[in-house]
């Protein structure tokens, strides 16, 4: 069964250039329904009012970080099953462990390439 590329994807990053990069890379692999947020709080509001099938989020943002967003998502009955990929420059063991404990679906370290992004999306959407 092919991956459903019509799902709504929420990308979250406080660097607008990074949002633009991820949006374009997603477009190249035919994910065209992409929404953006520049911090965890804005992302959470969009997630609660929308219907998203995937979250791709940075970690280091203020006032709500990507880890706090992940914790909120996993604690929300309606959102807890949404696949969540962390894309971040934070690459310490304790970061990966904390993200895993919070229920992250996959973890990409910046700088990343398009292959890695596609590979992790396929994995979390159930085809890896």
């Amino acid at each position: 069964m092919p991956i459903d590329k019509s799902i709504n994807v929420l990308i979250v990053d406080d660097y607008k250039t990074m949002l633009r990069i991820i949006r374009n890379l997603l477009k190249q692999i035919e994910f065209n329904n992409v929404e953006e947020a520049t911090d965890g709080a804005e992302a959470l509001a969009k997630l609660r009012s929308g219907n998203f099938g995937l979250v791709i989020s940075d970690w280091n943002m203020a006032p709500m970080t990507g880890l706090q967003l992940l914790q909120e998502v996993r604690a929300d009955a309606k959102l807890k099953a949404v696949p969540f990929i962390m894309v971040t420059a934070e690459s310490k063991v304790e970061n990966v462990v904390a993200a895993k404990q919070a229920g992250v679906s996959n973890y990409i370290v910046k700088p990343f390439n398009a292959e890695t992004l596609r590979d992790k999306i396929e994995k979390v959407l159930g085809h890896g």
Binding site: D13, Y15, K16, T17, M18, R20, I21, N24, L25, K27, Q28, W59, N60, A62, M64, T65, L67, Q68, A89, E90, S91, K92, V93, E94, N95, V96, V97, A98, K100, N106, Y107, I108, V109, K110, P111, F112, N113, A114, T116
Partner: protein
């Protein structure tokens, strides 16, 4: 010794009651009292008094030297200049990156009108450009770390200046907002020590 302990306790109690007391004022009062007592002191006490006076002169000399160094310049000029320059770098790289991305998006549009090998080659090239543009995020985060370090130095220098009274116009040091999970917000690591994607994949797999 009991007297000394008692005195220390009393001084601590006074400090608790008046935390904003200027050390210079206290020193002036002590100096004034000691000068009135000097006629009644024993030889040992006179020696201690001489030591205390020497210490006072050393502190005064240190204050004068710090004032002569114009350390205020560090907080008033040098660090603000450096942080402004770094902010400008982030702004310029963001502008340039957006210009590159705009051109890249145009190329992607052109690629949709092409077929075969040309379309594939063009898309591969734009993919590599998108990947490379993530430098703006990474360098931006590294510069933010440097700015934070400079602000820490600025605060510490201002603290030293305030303590030694080398400046006439010391305001309160602006507090920095403590981030959530501070231990987990380290930003990009140095490439020689950082885990790469394959290390992270292995670590994640170890949880399965």
């Amino acid at each position: 010794m009991a007297d000394a302990d008692q005195l220390a306790d009393r001084l601590a109690a006074i400090r608790l009651r008046y935390p904003a007391t200027e050390p210079d004022l206290v020193a002036d009062v002590v100096r004034a009292i000691l000068s009135t007592l000097s006629g009644d002191l024993s030889a040992q006490e006179t020696s201690v008094l001489a030591e205390v006076e020497a210490l006072g002169r050393t502190i005064a000399s240190a204050k004068a030297e710090i004032a002569a160094l114009r350390v205020d310049d560090i907080t008033d000029n040098h660090i603000p200049f450096a942080t402004d320059e770094l902010d400008a770098i982030v702004e310029h790289t963001a502008t340039a990156t957006n210009a590159i991305l705009s051109s890249c998006e145009t190329l992607d549009e052109v690629a949709t009108d092409l077929t075969g090998e040309a379309a594939t080659k063009l898309q591969d090239a734009t993919t590599r450009i998108y990947e490379a543009c993530s430098f703006q995020d990474i360098t931006g985060q590294r510069i933010t770390k440097v700015v934070t370090t400079l602000k820490t130095i600025e605060a510490k220098v201002a603290q030293i200046v305030a303590t030694f009274g080398a400046s006439e116009h010391q305001g309160p040091i602006a507090g920095t907002v403590e981030p959530a999970e501070p231990a987990l917000l380290n930003g990009p690591q140095h490439p020689t020590v950082a885990m790469d994607q394959s290390d992270i994949d292995k670590l994640l797999a170890s949880f399965e």
